[in-house]
């Protein structure tokens, strides 16, 4: 089964780690569902416009963490273990929170101030 995914890469970081991030992103966003079959390394590399070795490296890494598993004859699949996916979601969420807090810090807000800001924001929305 061939999956059309929207890849986008930035210049300054290794491609393989960006591939890993984006696949995780696709899982979180639902573009790939648990249990989905992935296309061959070559097809995925072609679709993403990246080197096949790089794609292989990323997929191997994801296999190592268990997010992807492979069946020798039929190919690679996204895991169906809900808790692994949930763990990954939480990890991504924490990374994003970290980045957010750092950028807020750059404009002068501490963590406690940020918590207050969010509370006020929520209350304003509810009105």
């Amino acid at each position: 089964m061939f999956l059309k995914m929207a890849w986008s890469f930035s210049d300054d970081r290794p491609i393989y780690s960006q591939i890993i991030e984006q696949i995780k992103q696709f899982i979180v966003s639902g573009e790939i569902k648990p249990g989905d079959k992935l296309a061959s390394v070559r097809d995925m590399a072609s679709e993403a416009g990246v080197n096949p070795n790089t794609m292989q490296r990323a997929l191997s890494e994801l296999e190592r963490t268990g997010l992807i598993y492979s069946q020798r004859t039929s190919g690679r699949y996204i895991t169906q273990k809900e808790e692994l996916i949930q763990d990954m979601k939480n990890e991504l969420a924490n990374e994003k929170i970290n980045m957010f807090l750092q950028s807020m810090q750059q404009i002068g807000y501490s963590k406690e101030q940020v918590a207050d800001l969010i509370k006020n924001y929520k209350e304003a929305e509810n009105k």
Partner: protein, 233 residues
């Protein structure tokens, strides 16, 4: 089959008083897509021509699969020059037949598939085609071989973006663990993502030979940005 598909040992090439290649040492492994990056006149084309036997070294040597360039190495090297070089009177059919005749590793079915997928009529004579189409035909013939070393000299130089994507995609799709593709170019931005390794060449000397991932990791920049720094005028 040697581990190194291409090796240069102290390779030097002089044209009269001008030194185009200066004591080059280079080792290229298999199963890689490698960029040979440098400004015009840095020696990229000269290096490629010594590898495919069109130029003889002045000093040192170049080895393809542990052999000196000659009849045997030409069987496993697929070369794409950076100009229209095929006999213009020939039809595409005739060229496919000729390549099938001379190269044991040529796959005519692959060539026909690619020709058809681009809506090119195989019974056309080369002379009647546009420049862009001629370049695509040349690329298709080169990529339809199951060679061990592909030498592509400025394949994306003068082409439009859609053709460029097609060329880069066919390089990815053609990938094999035994084969290595060496792409010479000065347009790094466009091809960075498909490269395993890059070789920087300047004034006939190798300045750098590293993997793209490692470079991005250690420098925190794209290879394009690193290139601009290294080759600043």
């Amino acid at each position: 089959m040697s581990e190194l598909v291409l090796e240069c040992k102290g390779l030097t090439k002089k044209f009269g008083r001008k030194t185009a290649l200066d004591n080059i040492d280079l080792k290229l492994g298999r199963g890689k897509i490698i960029g040979l990056l440098g400004p015009n006149g840095s020696g990229k084309t000269t290096l490629i021509k010594t590898a495919n036997g069109l130029l003889a070294p002045t000093g040192g040597k170049v080895l393809i699969n542990d052999k000196i360039p000659g009849r045997e190495t030409k069987k496993i090297v697929s070369y794409l020059p950076d100009q229209t070089y095929l006999p213009q009177w020939m039809k595409i059919d005739g060229l496919i037949e000729m390549f099938s005749d001379f190269y044991a590793d040529f796959q005519p079915q692959t060539a026909y598939e690619m020709i058809k997928s681009l809506n090119i009529n195989p019974s056309e004579v080369l002379k009647t085609l546009s420049k862009g189409t001629k370049e695509k035909v040349q690329l298709i013939l080169v990529m339809s071989r199951r060679a061990q070393l592909y030498l592509l000299d400025e394949p994306i130089g003068g082409v439009d973006p859609a053709t460029r994507d097609y060329i880069l995609d066919s390089i990815i799709k053609n990938y094999s663990e035994n084969a290595t593709v060496l792409i010479s170019t000065h347009l790094i931005n466009d091809i960075e993502k498909i490269l395993d390794e890059v070789v920087f060449i300047k004034n006939g000397s190798i300045m750098l030979h590293n993997s793209v991932d490692d470079l991005r990791e250690s420098e925190g920049k794209s290879v394009d940005a690193i290139f601009r720094e290294v080759f600043k005028c």
